[in-house]
């Protein structure tokens, strides 16, 4: 088998990503056809920068989903090694490739002779699973605390703002080093923090539903019961893990456990992001609560939570959506930082930060094992930033 030239590598890569191209083309074709009916999302397709950003983001989302759910795209197992493939340059043929096995290491081999390409696409699945969800949780925490702080003000505001500034004054890496070590996991502090942080989405959704349907008790009771049962069970399953000090749910009732390290990483990323979201929401609330429609709702006799969640919150959506996109990018960077310092995720994990960390030791001789995940991370974050920029521009137009 001959080594592939750069042109052939590019061609093979294009072919490997074929399902992603198809999905992207379908998405863009549908969105552009119906863009007049799709609101803000549709307007994105009038904006070149926004479209480029959306394309980059969706490329990684589709890649992650296809790798994670169907096992497409990957050429080799990201954890297994092959003999004689250590630090090989991109396009090296696999020695003694069997029938039906992909015959090359498309983007070369790393220091442990694993396939760089497969690790890169598997890394996308790790990032896409954690980053948006962690950002969403950070938003729920920030919103649940930021709305009352801005709306009621006073002592509550001072106390919460002080706490938020406290966390923000910490250098993030120091915080990670303090929270994400094996000793700290042993004490259970990250798990207890998870117990508290995961409570916020439940509080948020319960108050949201309650404030809306307070006047129709029968309907509200049914909705709240269903919501609390589903969310409560999910919450208990997430929080309770036999590996940590927080383990109270019997095995048969425990729906799922989050694999080692991921929960800790998740909790610390939420913890770091929430104060910034809190500050943004608080600032927006302070601004919006002086508007006439809030005064109208107060005169109507609406409760404070209804006003906060159904009058103020919907009107903060513009800046919040933009910040959400930016913050997913920032969370991706934070995840990479954790991996770069070898914290949290297991050392053989294919996520981009860990891979960059392993590749950087031989960077000046064999740059490809570190460069490939670095470019992947760069393109995803760049896509999110461009998307946010496009959204901001379009939402300011009207």
């Amino acid at each position: 088998m001959e080594p592939l030239s750069w042109g052939q590598i590019a061609l093979q890569l294009l072919i490997r990503f074929l399902p992603v191209w198809i999905a992207l083309i379908v998405t863009f074709a549908l969105s552009i056809t119906y863009k007049r009916r799709l609101g803000l999302y549709g307007k994105l397709f009038d904006n070149t920068i926004g479209m480029v950003g959306f394309g980059l983001v969706m490329f990684w989302v589709y890649t992650a989903l296809m790798v994670g759910l169907f096992d497409w795209i990957v050429t080799h197992d990201p954890l297994s090694t092959a003999s004689g493939m250590k630090n090989k340059v991109p396009g090296t043929p696999l020695r003694g490739a069997e029938e039906g096995e992909f015959a090359w290491y498309l983007l070369g081999g790393d220091t442990l002779a694993r396939d760089v390409f497969s690790r890169m696409v598997e890394g996308a699945w790790v990032v896409i699973r954690i980053a948006p969800l962690a950002t969403l949780f950070a938003f729920m925490v920030g919103i649940t605390l930021g709305l009352p702080a801005g709306y009621f003000g006073g002592r509550l505001d001072s106390a919460l703002s002080f706490a938020a500034n406290l966390i923000l004054a910490f250098p993030v890496i120091l915080l990670f080093y303090l929270l994400v070590t094996p000793e700290m996991v042993e004490t259970g502090i990250p798990s207890y923090m998870g117990v508290v942080l995961f409570l916020f989405p439940i509080i948020f959704l319960t108050v949201l539903v309650n404030a809306r349907y307070r006047t129709q008790p029968a309907r509200r009771n049914v909705m709240l019961a269903v919501l609390l049962f589903v969310l409560g069970w999910a919450y208990l399953s997430v929080v309770s893990d036999p590996q940590t000090p927080v383990a109270f749910l019997p095995r048969d009732l425990d729906l799922f456990d989050i694999p080692g390290g991921i929960l800790v990483v998740f909790v610390s990323v939420v913890f770091v992001n929430a104060p910034t979201v809190f500050r943004i929401v608080r600032g927006l609330t302070l601004d919006i609560k002086t508007r006439d429609y809030v005064a109208a709702a107060q005169t109507r006799g609406e409760g404070p939570w209804y006003i906060m969640l159904w009058e103020i919150l919907p009107n903060t959506r513009g800046p919040l959506i933009v910040d959400f996109c930016l913050r997913i990018g920032y969370t991706t960077i934070l995840l990479g930082t954790l991996g770069f310092f070898g914290l949290g995720l297991p050392p053989e994990s294919p996520d981009w930060g860990t891979t960059i960390n392993q590749g950087r030791k031989l960077l000046s001789i064999y740059p490809h094992p570190a460069i490939v995940p670095a470019l992947a991370l760069l393109s995803l974050v760049l896509g999110l930033n461009l998307l946010a920029d496009g959204l901001r521009e379009e939402s300011l137009k009207d």
Binding site: I49, F162, N165, L166, L168, A169, F170, P171, V172, I173, L174, Y177, L178, L179, T181, E183, M184, E186, T187, I189, G329, I333, G336, T337, F340, F341, G353, I356, G359, R360, L363, S364, I365, Y366, P367, H368, A370, I371, A374, L375, L377, L378, V381, L382, L384, N385, L386, D389
Partner: protein, 347 residues
């Protein structure tokens, strides 16, 4: 103004106390202490020996007492074992009689580092000087280039220059230090690409910094912060350019060049000033990554070493210093904002 300063100073001290207590608490949890005991004593100690060692060295007191000892507001512990008196403040030539009662941060005693076997204050001093040198060059590179980028983009909003410069600044904010550092090393310092213009490590730059060994780390940190400042400058510049007095100047027939330089620039630079100051916490992060990547032994490198080995005293010292840096820059940015903006200064 004085009242405002005092209030801010009070909040600062309270914040620093809270943060140092959090770090103290987290580093002094049971499993961490066991690790310390095994590091200082013997790595194959039995559980009972570990507990003994901890009790003999004052680690078994209540956490608040120990925090007070570290701070220097509670007398240091002493331990009388069969006539041999040991204690927190008894070290070197001092005996139980001559040793001071208090020895904490307030008395200028930051304790000893476990990993480096030296006084924390010396280590922090040396490392801070190294990091200060790095930061100085970062500021010298980052701030002017960011301001120029922002002003050029913002002076004609929506033009081709604006579009391309804005995209460039978005691209730099999307590149964290560990990505840009890796790419820069691979392109400019590796034998694979073959340019080899710069050195891939900055260890030599600690003694004698040259363009060749110091430019890459400085550039890596600057790039990430630059985009953000440039975008803020652009937004502020674009806003100023739509103001009434700019239109008046233009109608008077002042040249575009003079409008930008004499009328718009000063007002447009108020907002970026605050942003630059608030960038410090981020820069500290970048410093840790870059110092690790380029093996430059500054404060960030020491932080990684201390945190990896749970070196309690050093970790506390570094976090107090970095938190103070963050808080002081916040204070400067507040004062500077008030000072630069006449509307706030007068009212």
């Amino acid at each position: 103004m004085i009242l405002f300063l005092l209030k801010r100073l009070g909040t600062m001290i309270l914040t620093a106390l809270c943060l140092s207590f959090i770090v103290f608490f987290l580093t002094n949890l049971e499993p961490n202490l066991r690790k310390v005991a095994k590091f200082e004593g013997n790595s194959r100690m039995e559980e009972s020996e570990v507990q003994n060692w901890l009790a003999n060295n004052g680690y078994k007191q209540p956490i608040l007492t120990r925090y007070g000892e570290w701070l220097g507001v509670v007398p240091g512990w002493t331990n009388d074992r069969a006539g041999v008196v040991t204690g927190r403040c008894i070290e070197g030539d001092l005996t139980a009689e001559t040793a001071p009662r208090f020895c904490g941060v307030l008395q200028g005693n930051w304790g000893d580092s476990m990993v480096f076997r030296d006084e924390v204050s010396t280590i922090v001093g040396v490392r801070l000087w190294m990091t200060g040198k790095l930061m100085l060059w970062v500021m010298l590179l980052m701030v002017p280039s960011a301001l120029i980028l922002g002003v050029l983009a913002g002076m004609r909003e929506g033009s081709k220059t604006d579009r391309s410069l804005s995209t460039l600044s978005i691209a730099t904010t999307a590149t964290p230090e560990y990505v840009s550092g890796v790419i820069l090393i691979a392109v400019f310092a590796s034998s694979a690409v073959g340019l080899k213009w710069f050195k891939g490590t900055a260890t030599a730059a600690m003694e004698d910094a040259t363009f060749e060994n110091f430019f890459l780390p400085v550039l890596t940190i600057s790039l990430y912060g630059m985009g953000y400042i440039a975008r803020m400058t652009r937004a502020s510049m674009a806003e100023v350019m739509t103001a009434q007095y700019i239109r008046t100047a233009r109608l008077k027939g002042v040249s575009f060049r003079n409008i930008v330089l004499k009328h718009a620039l000063r007002n447009a630079l108020i907002a970026p000033f605050t942003v630059i100051m608030l960038q410090f916490p981020w820069l500290l992060n970048g410093v840790v990554v870059v110092e690790t990547l380029f093996n430059y032994k500054g404060l960030g490198w020491a932080l990684v070493q201390a945190a990896g080995n749970n070196d309690i005293n050093l970790l506390l010292g570094i976090s107090v210093v970095s938190v103070l840096v963050v808080l002081v820059t916040q204070l400067i940015s507040d004062i500077g904002y008030v000072y630069l903006n006449p509307r706030i200064r007068i009212s």
